[in-house]
Amino acid sequence: MHLTDRELWTLVHGMGFGALYLLAFAGGIAGLYSLRTKLVTVEGILDRVSRLRWGSAVMAVCVWLTVIVGTFIVYPWYRAKPPEAIDTKAQSAELMDYPRYWLLASEETAEYHHFGMEWKEHVAWITPFLATAVAVGVFAYGKELSTDRRARFILMGLFILSFALSGVAGLFGALITKAAPII
């Protein structure tokens, strides 16, 4: 088994930071939802708030790292321009090293770029803003979240929105990588 540098960074971006954020979402949302005085003891609330604080901060860091690695390390390999000697009108083996141009060379795959990548590369940048706001909220309210239903629901809403948008980015990332992998 051998991984190239590009495959490794793609894994770090998608299966590392990105997947960690998406998987941790379930724990985070369950933690917020059940943080209620009628469900948890005082000691339990303190323990859960501490875990939520760490969890939301780590998740925010993960999502920032996902978009930074994706944009500044992986994306330039995706959009690299092939030399003029390579025909960009046909999906050849030589063009496979230039995923953007490979996708655009056929009408059957062009929408992966025009719709999938164009949406993914932009909408993904909204998620770290939302994840940061959620982490700040968890730190600011602390144990008050167990009694302040409104604040808890707002944080859950922002958290779900952040998850949904990162899910869009992750889904298109997986589909595009399947159609035109960065090797």
Partner: protein, 128 residues
Amino acid sequence: MATQSIPAEKAVEKAAGYVSAADRVMNAAMIASGVGSAVLGLMVVGAEMNAGLKAFLTWDPGVGPLAGKAGVAVIAFLISWVAMHVAFQKQSPKLMTALWITLGLLVVGVALTFPPIYMGIAAAFAPK
């Protein structure tokens, strides 16, 4: 020194328009996330419509204009967050008002990063 309110007092405080310290911190971060999103959307449409802006946003030739679009949005997010965090210590909107402002900005951001919308706007308004 921070005080801990009991729920009954909290209900009275909320009815009177009181904004807690935690609400103020949350309001600033929440609205800033909306500002960052909306600025990102505006940069996406702007770069599509204006070749000069697209070139200006190309901070890195390998990344292309995405570097500038994301960079400007992050700067807007950070500056607006700090500015509102300071301003809201004196006077802050209520939590629900801040939420609606945030949602409005997020709708702008998400809509303007959706390819059929931003490409449609660019095609309709770009100089011929």
